[in-house]
Symmetry: C2
Subunit: 331 residues, 2 copies
DNA sequence: CACATGTGTAAAAACGTTTACACAAAATTA
DNA sequence: TAATTTTGTGTAAACGTTTTTACACATGTG
């Protein structure tokens, strides 16, 4: 059995409170007793029970994060950034992978709440307004990332301007001379999916290009989705000249479908997307991409939480909109 | 303030224990009271405080996982697998990113212990035997993944046969006619790094090829490492015909260095590596790779923990060695 | 020498649960 | 009908901390 405060106390024939005081170091203890206690702690190899502390202190020293897919580099980096800042402030990070499932996400939220997490970062896939209200009414500081609740109310978030980014990416395609530009995006209830579609639309319109519904694909942000939609497009004889994929996974799936039809990227279909980071030095070869500062997003989200935790007055740090980077190595 | 058990009890004029019993559902309560309580729980929107439960039950219902770099697809997938199984069994996952730093890893272990986690999955970067002993002496079920402690004692682990995998990969290069084959690996205190180097060595020897120390690079598993080592090799005029990179990141870095010298992959230097998964459909183009079943590894690691948690007799499930897949799309 | 002030420590009450124990009332058995 | 068992509930003691309160004692002050 791991030694407890009371074991140290008994061992030294002093009271628990004294031992506690030297551990927490913020109350008066004589140097002599402090030494004794510190020595005993070493000897008995005492280590505080954080659960008991949490109960007493009403703070679990943990932050929850809910992402749709941790195996997506974007969310992995985001989590990494969040985790680092959490750790630096004495918090541990509880990772939840919602798998793009609304019910799962809600379940996780409930679990995190029960676990008394001190803060939550959430890349939501839900649209349910009641659910968002519930989150924001709770006393747990919450920051939304990537995907935002579409509600009137103010809340904390960190993201990029998706509409503009998609616009820029599409403009890039148009500037290169492409006219038949397809777009594949995620579920429109997710703002990142919706706004990217809208950016594409605006670019098409502003450049006087026809918006062809056959070239609009709406699926989800998974590889399979990109694959199936592109495959169908091609099999329906709707080969576009270029494709805007609303995230990296869609692009990967689409490229697989393209190659299966013995077409080449980018020669036959020029593909651009979001968040195909160039870390690998491989992906970016022919995949111009808008890359979000994922790690930064996670860091800032956690900064906001920590700030709110330390400073009760500071309630709504309205919004942080970061600048993404346009990566286009081969041009 | 969130309602507590006692609030429900008072509201109904019954005792806390009765309320607790209906919540936990495994003790006798009359149907009538049960209904009442359930109704009150709904009305007052009660949700149990998991911290208090943890303290009382001596189980935090959390599992800790320590990985060197969550932004590496391999560890992201591993975590994803672990998380899914944890969740299915009512546990949440605490994610720790050691950043390949030994002290950081130890710090995390301490934090997890204090947090009373019920189990630990760890991809260690340490070599310190004392540290491993401490882990294994503790009462917390621990499973090692990827990288293994080099100690006599039995412990749980899930990994692949790295030596054989590296041998196979090298043999593949040799079969393709390459003779001057470089290898870049991580710190040799990590078994995955060491064993991959040894697999390369054995393949070279068994095929009667010269082992040229100039073509052995030892760094770490980060991109920069692959970049610097390959750059130096090339600048020293030691251009190999092919390269075995001990992980994906090393390969990415090396490829960047190769390209900077205006050389092409695979025409000028043929590169193979570990864990460049083909999920993207992009990386694998010219990068034959041994891909570990990362998600599976995480799942099995968690299975072991759950089993040990549920069945006190089952203490040491010796080892699980999984088969990796050889991916070589373009051949 | 009375009195305030300062210092170190102990005792005890939380924090929100679960559960062993006790016990009355109801149901069953002899 | 008496004895026994079953059923439902309440009481109180944990789980391992932190912190408030109180108090004993030393030191300094007029």
């Amino acid at each position: 059995m791991a030694p407890r405060l009371v074991d140290i106390a008994k061992h030294l024939n002093i009271s628990v409170s004294t031992v506690s005081r030297v551990i927490n170091g913020k109350d008066r203890v004589s140097d002599e007793t402090r030494e004794k206690v510190l020595k005993a702690i070493k000897e008995l190899n005492y280590s505080p029970n954080e659960i008991a502390r949490s109960l007493r202190n009403r703070s679990s020293k943990t932050i929850g994060i809910i992402v749709p897919d941790i195996s997506n580099q974007f969310f992995a980096l985001l989590s990494k950034g969040a985790e680092a800042v959490a750790k630096n402030n004495g918090y541990l990070l509880i990772l939840c992978n919602s798998d793009y499932d609304e019910d799962m996400e809600k379940e996780y939220l409930e679990m995190l709440t029960q676990k008394q997490v001190d803060g939550i970062v959430i890349a939501t896939v839900c649209k349910d307004e009641k659910y968002f209200e519930r989150i924001l009414d709770s006393s747990i500081p919450t920051v939304f990332v990537d995907n935002l609740p579409q509600i009137k109310r103010n809340y904390n978030f960190v993201t990029i301007d998706n509409e503009k980014a998609a616009f820029d990416l599409t403009q890039h395609l148009i500037d290169k001379g492409y006219k038949e530009i397809a777009v594949i995006t995620g579920k429109l209830q997710e703002t990142s999916a919706l706004e990217r579609l809208e950016g594409w639309k605006r670019a098409m319109k502003e450049n006087g290009l026809k918006i062809n519904n056959d070239l609009i694909g709406i699926g989800d942000f998974k590889i399979e989705s990109g694959y199936k939609i592109m495959k169908k497009m091609l099999e329906n004889g709707k080969k576009p000249e270029a494709l805007l994929a609303a995230n990296n996974f869609i692009a990967y799936g689409a490229i697989r479908a393209i190659r299966e039809k013995d077409l080449r990227v980018p020669e036959d279909i020029y593909v651009v997307c979001f968040d195909a980071t160039d870390d690998t030095g491989l992906m970016s070869i022919n995949l111009p991409s808008i890359v979000q500062p994922a790690e930064k997003i996670g860091e800032i989200a956690l900064d906001i939480i920590i700030k709110r935790l330390n400073n009760k007055e500071f309630k709504i740090f309205d919004k942080v909109i970061l600048e993404p980077t346009f990566i286009n190595v081969m041009n």
